[in-house]
């Protein structure tokens, strides 16, 4: 965990209201775990809370990392206005549990399901898997064609099987990621998912299987980002205890917490 002024190398639109920002700085060296996130202070002293944003890719050779974010409110709007050369105050990497990209073996059936801005951490995960010669099946869900991003990036991964679903069928197939999931013949060995809570809930309901090591990445409004303020808790599956998404997650095993 470091807190650093990172330098914006590039900040560009890659889909409707969706931006890809490349950052550089010594903090990059500490980024080793896909699924962990950065706590980004957006410009302006009137916004006191940082914004949690997943790491979408890391390039240790170039000393850069990438985040992909959607303009939702004031904070992401301000981020979108940053230009190359600007500094952005970043705290991270945060989260003790990411996607276990080091566990699947080559030949395992690894399924990745991403919805909207849930896609970025899965791209980082898929790249790490590719480094270990693990190929992936990918289902990406978006509302409509103009929202789609990273389809091509996933396709460029070796042996990746990529399927895009849009609600209106304007790109790829019409339907949800669950439709695509249901068409698969057998449960995967590994399932890594990130997206809206409802989507994750449906995935868990459809894909929980003794054979499948399932993992989901959760979002919640955060204060500290490191486990000290109890803002971002969720209950454990047995309803007796809780996990902090920022610290114990943001990735959890199927059934570990109540979605």
């Amino acid at each position: 965990m470091k807190n650093e002024q990172m330098t914006v190398r590039e900040n560009k639109t890659i889909a409707e209201k969706t931006y890809e920002m490349t950052l550089s700085g010594p903090l990059v060296e500490h980024l080793v775990n896909p699924g962990t996130f950065l706590h980004v202070a957006v410009p302006g002293d009137d916004l006191v809370l940082r914004r949690p944003i997943s790491i979408a890719a890391v390039d240790q050779d170039a000393g850069t990392c990438t985040i992909v974010y959607k303009e939702e409110g004031e904070g992401t709007k301000r981020l979108s206005r940053c230009r190359a050369g600007d500094s952005v105050d970043v705290f991270g990497p945060l989260g003790k549990q990411g996607f276990p990209a080091e566990q699947p073996s080559p030949g395992d059936d690894v399924l990745i399901i991403g919805g909207g801005v849930g896609v970025p951490p899965l791209y980082y995960t898929a790249r790490e898997l590719a480094k270990r010669d693990v190929s992936v099946s990918v289902i990406l869900g978006f509302q409509t064609a103009t929202a789609v991003f990273y389809e091509q990036a996933f396709r460029e991964l070796p042996d990746a099987d990529v399927r895009v679903m849009t609600d209106d069928g304007s790109n790829g197939h019409a339907g949800t990621v669950i439709d695509a999931l249901n068409e698969r013949p057998s449960p995967p060995d590994w399932l890594f998912a990130c997206g809206p809570r409802g989507m994750l809930r449906a995935i868990e309901a459809h894909a929980a299987h003794s054979k499948t090591n399932g993992y989901v990445s959760l979002e919640e409004r955060m204060g500290c980002g490191i486990g000290a303020c109890f803002a971002c808790v969720c209950e454990t599956g047995d309803h007796t205890s809780y996990r902090k998404i920022c610290r114990d997650g943001p990735v959890f095993r199927f059934k570990e917490v109540v979605l």
Partner: protein
């Protein structure tokens, strides 16, 4: 220890502090997380998360919302309960050379007494901070903080069982904060801490629904700083009790403002979220302020009558 400037030392009832800066209750849990970032021994003290008799799971999420130069929280006093704090959390903090201000919450006077009895034997608990002003739990908490008699009775009850000095944390959601201050002073309080959060609300304009699951929450951060300074100033006019001031502190300059207003030490809450290293940064920057103001020590604000 290197880097300790003796001019920053502050001695308050139960708390011998290297400097006047501590993280505020609820913004630092029990120290474990920030201990991964910096040496907790650098801090003047650590105020731990509000502790209740039994464990509490707190409110539904979302528990925080952003506001202009501030935030709302409705954590709902999530904590592992007094016994677990005594057995598992306080021992961790014993690994550091820093006194603990144990923040105590509850729904009934009996619960406060129980928590204090449980924690008062912990060697590193220097003093208690009675949270009589938490706006985020349905019963208890804030009632004690808005009624001088209830506040005084609670103080008396806790003082009877505590082997450590007792600070009372005042609510800003009152017509006359000095009345509560005087009532708890008469009941034996050893010090005061203020302010807790102002009750506030945010609504999502696009849905018409409150942003917090709990609807209302406590406002903190720079937005409340002028209210905090005013209340500390008002309380300082009526009592000589030690005051730990808080509410919107983000910088060493803010700390100086609070010391001038009448605080003897300060707590930093929300700013830890904006800048996780804010406490050590402030501590590092305080000596230059003493130089600039020509003051000999932090104590000089009170002793030399520098405060207003």
């Amino acid at each position: 220890m290197t880097g300790v400037d003796p001019r920053l030392h502050v001695t308050l009832p139960g708390l011998t502090m290297k400097n006047p800066v501590m993280p505020a209750s609820g913004c630092f849990a029990f120290g474990r997380e920030y201990a991964e970032l910096f040496d907790l021994s650098k801090l003047g003290a650590v105020a731990i998360k509000g502790t209740t008799g039994a464990a509490r799971l707190g409110n539904p999420t979302p528990r925080v919302a952003e506001t202009p130069s501030g935030m709302l929280n409705a954590i709902g006093l999530q904590n592992p309960g007094a016994q677990a704090v005594r057995d598992e959390e306080l021992p961790f903090l014993e690994g550091y050379d820093v006194p603990v201000l144990a923040n105590v919450s509850g729904s009934t006077p009996e619960e406060y007494v129980h928590v204090v009895k449980t924690l008062t034997t912990a060697p590193n608990v220097g003093a208690f901070e009675l949270n009589i002003s938490c706006p985020n739990v349905k019963e208890g908490g804030i009632q004690f903080g808005t009624d001088p008699e209830a506040a005084a009775a609670l103080t008396t009850a806790v003082k009877a069982v505590s082997t450590k000095p007792v600070y009372v944390k005042l609510s800003p959601n009152v017509t006359d904060v000095t009345a509560i201050a005087l009532a708890v002073e008469a009941a034996g309080a050893d010090g005061l801490t203020l302010i807790n959060t102002l009750v506030g609300m945010r609504i999502d304009a696009s849905t018409g629904k409150p942003v917090l699951a709990n609807e209302k929450g406590g406002l903190s951060g720079p937005a409340v700083k002028p209210v905090a300074l005013r209340m500390i100033h008002d309380v300082r006019q009526v009592t000589g009790l030690p005051i730990i001031g808080m509410g919107g502190i983000q910088s060493a300059e803010d700390v100086i403002e609070f010391l001038f207003a009448g605080a003897d030490a300060v707590a930093v809450g929300t700013a830890n979220f904006s800048n996780p290293f804010v406490c050590p940064t402030i501590i590092r920057e305080l000596p230059a302020w003493l130089d600039q103001l020509g003051l000999e020590s932090i104590g000089a604000f009170r002793e030399q009558g520098a405060n207003i």
